[in-house]
């Protein structure tokens, strides 16, 4: 396996400073420094706080990852970094560090897409991705259904949230229930002791005329908040466990229902679930149940690989190297709204002042196709 690409990946799109090292599809290290505790009292991620924390954590986290992997930086075949989407200032710390690291080592740089990385990370858990793979990405920042015929060059958005991300809904309901931030883990825990059928909360965008693959959690959030308020106004005790279980059930019901439908419609027999909300135990169990019933193979990485981390970036970077995708240029931009249809940001300059042997400019510019088939796709 020693001839498989050895890649270091850097992720700083939100509040986790992640550095991972992989060899091909084998995870060697996954080092994380999180600033989540610093954000907790604000009830959400504060961009400037996150950026400051990334700067402090960057070099120590790189060194920890290399040590954990037991490899020398000189042996790396490439440095991958999240180029977007994400918080602009946070991305800038990671891309700047990755560039400096790649430049100083004389290694190629790969600016990659955060969402494609969330999908590709499953290669570290369950081996090479089937082609195509259907992916449901759910976190505090994203809720989308993606069809990926080739994770390095062809990722197609089938649907996305039209308002709140799924994880955001968890955070907001946790705030209404005064459970703190982030909301996902605590709601998951309390829901286990509650009745998911106690309250019938609305399932957004599930009508027959609604878009088949889009999500909406804003109406659900409002309905739950109103329900809680009515209880409080009536002087009754709020059954926190039942509310948590019923809210969570409404979210995961819609997510899994739409994901299975997309698999069936597109004739895809594999469903991958990633993103921080994929750590939710009820989402995992309901997805398993429904995939089994539909004859679909479910792939969900372990929770630590579902939340933002550097290993997922390294996993996609290694795939870029393996498939000879062109490296990025030294003037790579951090792009806070990098489209999901761009799995990476290939360089455009073919000729570098290439006297220190970094592997740039060995590919061609536009080997991935942006035209998408017209049905059900966003542009």
């Amino acid at each position: 396996m020693a001839d498989e690409p050895l890649v270091l990946g850097i992720e700083t799109s939100c509040d986790e400073t992640g550095v991972g090292v992989v060899r091909g599809t084998t995870l060697l290290a996954d080092a994380i420094a999180s600033s989540v505790d610093e954000h907790a009292r604000f009830g959400g991620v504060v961009p400037e706080v996150a950026s400051r924390a990334h700067l402090e954590a960057m070099v120590p986290t790189i060194e920890r990852a290399l040590k954990e992997a037991g490899v020398s930086a000189r042996d790396l075949d490439g440095i991958a970094v999240t180029a977007g989407p994400g918080l602009a200032g946070a991305l800038l710390v990671g891309t700047s560090a990755a560039k400096a690291y790649a430049y100083a080592l004389g290694k190629p740089l790969y600016g990659v897409n955060h969402l494609a990385s969330h999908i590709c990370v499953d290669q570290l858990e369950h081996g090479p991705l089937p082609e195509p793979t259907m992916a449901l990405l759910v976190s505090g920042g994203h809720s989308s259904l993606l069809l990926a015929p080739d994770i390095t060059s062809d990722v197609r958005p089938l649907g996305a949230t039209i308002d709140d991300a799924a994880g955001e809904a968890f955070d907001k309901i946790a705030r209404v229930l005064q459970l703190g931030f982030p909301g996902g883990p605590v709601i998951d825990r309390l829901a286990k002791e509650g009745d998911p059928k106690a309250i019938n909360f609305p399932r957004g965008l599930t009508g027959s005329r609604d878009p088949a693959y889009d999500f909406s959690f804003s109406g659900l959030k409002t309905a739950v908040a109103r329900w809680i308020e009515a209880k409080r106004n009536a002087g009754e005790e709020v059954p926190v466990r039942d509310v948590a279980a019923s809210f969570q059930e409404a979210v995961v019901d819609v997510l899994t229902r739409k994901a299975i439908r997309a698999c069936k419609d597109e004739g895809v027999d594999h469903l991958m679930i990633g993103g921080g909300v994929a750590a939710n135990s009820r989402l995992r169990s309901l997805a398993q149940e429904r995939c089994d019933a539909a004859g679909i193979t479910l792939r969900v990485p372990r929770p630590k690989l579902c939340t933002d981390n550097g290993a997922m970036v390294a996993a996609l970077g290694a795939e870029m190297v393996r498939r000879n995708r062109p490296a990025s240029d030294w003037d790579l931009s951090a792009d806070s709204s990098l489209p999901v249809t761009d799995p990476h940001v290939p360089g455009t300059s073919h000729v570098h002042s290439d006297d220190h042997g970094h592997g740039h400019g060995h590919g061609h510019d536009h080997d991935h196709v942006h035209e998408l088939s017209k049905d059900n796709l966003y542009s």
């Binding site: 799109s13 954000h39 604000f42 009830g43 959400g44 991620v45 504060v46 961009p47 400037e48 706080v49 950026s51 400051r52 700067l55 402090e56 960057m58 070099v59 790189i62 060194e63 930086a73 977007g84 989407p85 918080l87 602009a88 200032g89 800038l92 710390v93 700047s96 560090a97 560039k99 400096a100 690291y101 430049y103 100083a104 080592l105 969402l115 990405l137 505090g140 920042g141 994203h142 809720s143 989308s144 958005p157 996305a160 949230t161 709140d164 991300a165 994880g167 955001e168 030294w330 003037d331 790579l332 931009s333 951090a334 806070s336 709204s337 489209p339 999901v340 002042s353 006297d355 220190h356």
Partner: protein, 220 residues
């Protein structure tokens, strides 16, 4: 000795190579929104111009601000990462000290004020006794609030140019130059003087506001 100096604390993206005696090469661009894109190509250019490679560097000099945060971090994380790979020290210097030193080279003796743009109608500023001697710590203030403290002496820097009513006598360099920063560092190294750690001088607390729709990054 071969010093690589970088400073991204102001709208300038500035890089220089210094051999302890003189500046070998320098690159100066002013583009407040593209620090991240411009820095490594600038490093590449000055090295190529001097016919050297990065691993010949014996030390890194970095302007630690004060400066608007986003750009400031580009230079600092780049300097720290280079230092970690190359195993060389990072020497931090106050960005305003670089401008003061450049003012001295331009013939201004002092006392004078250095002011850079802090945005939000404020300036980062400090008083200097002479081009090598700062009076107190750098601060961030509204120009009108410091009018009395800076009255009667010339001012240096883009922050001063923005507020002529408070800084009527602006002279010397408008923008930060890594060449001046490197020269100052070389002088200080020769004299055995101390440097700052490569950590940012923000001078402001972060805006503790969670933006609406935070983390929503998927295309709609």
């Amino acid at each position: 000795m071969l010093l690589l100096a970088v400073d991204t604390a102001t709208p300038a993206v500035t890089v220089a190579l210094h051999d302890g005696e003189s500046v070998l090469a320098e690159s100066d661009q002013v583009d407040a929104r593209r620090h991240g894109e411009l820095l490594i190509p600038s490093v590449d250019r000055v090295l190529a111009e001097a016919g050297l490679k990065l691993d010949a560097i014996t030390g890194i000099v970095v302007g630690v601000g004060p400066g608007p945060y986003t750009g400031l971090r580009v230079g600092l994380v780049t300097a720290s990462t280079f230092a970690a790979v190359l195993g060389v020290p990072v020497h931090g210097l106050c960005t305003l000290d670089g401008l003061a030193y450049a003012a001295g080279t331009a013939g201004i003796e002092g006392p004078f004020t250095v002011a850079t743009d802090a945005r939000r109608k404020e300036v980062y500023w400090a008083r200097y006794e002479d081009p090598r001697t700062r009076v107190g710590e750098p601060r961030v203030d509204r120009p009108a609030d410091i009018a009395e403290q800076v009255a009667g002496v010339p001012a240096v820097g883009q922050g001063a140019l923005l507020y002529p009513e408070v800084f009527p006598d602006v002279r010397g360099p408008e923008h930060q130059s890594a060449a001046a920063l490197a020269s100052l560092a070389a002088e200080r190294l020769a004299a055995g003087a101390a440097f700052l750690p490569p950590t940012p001088l923000y001078l402001r607390r972060p805006d503790a506001q969670v933006p609406k729709n935070y983390k929503v990054v998927t295309p709609q």
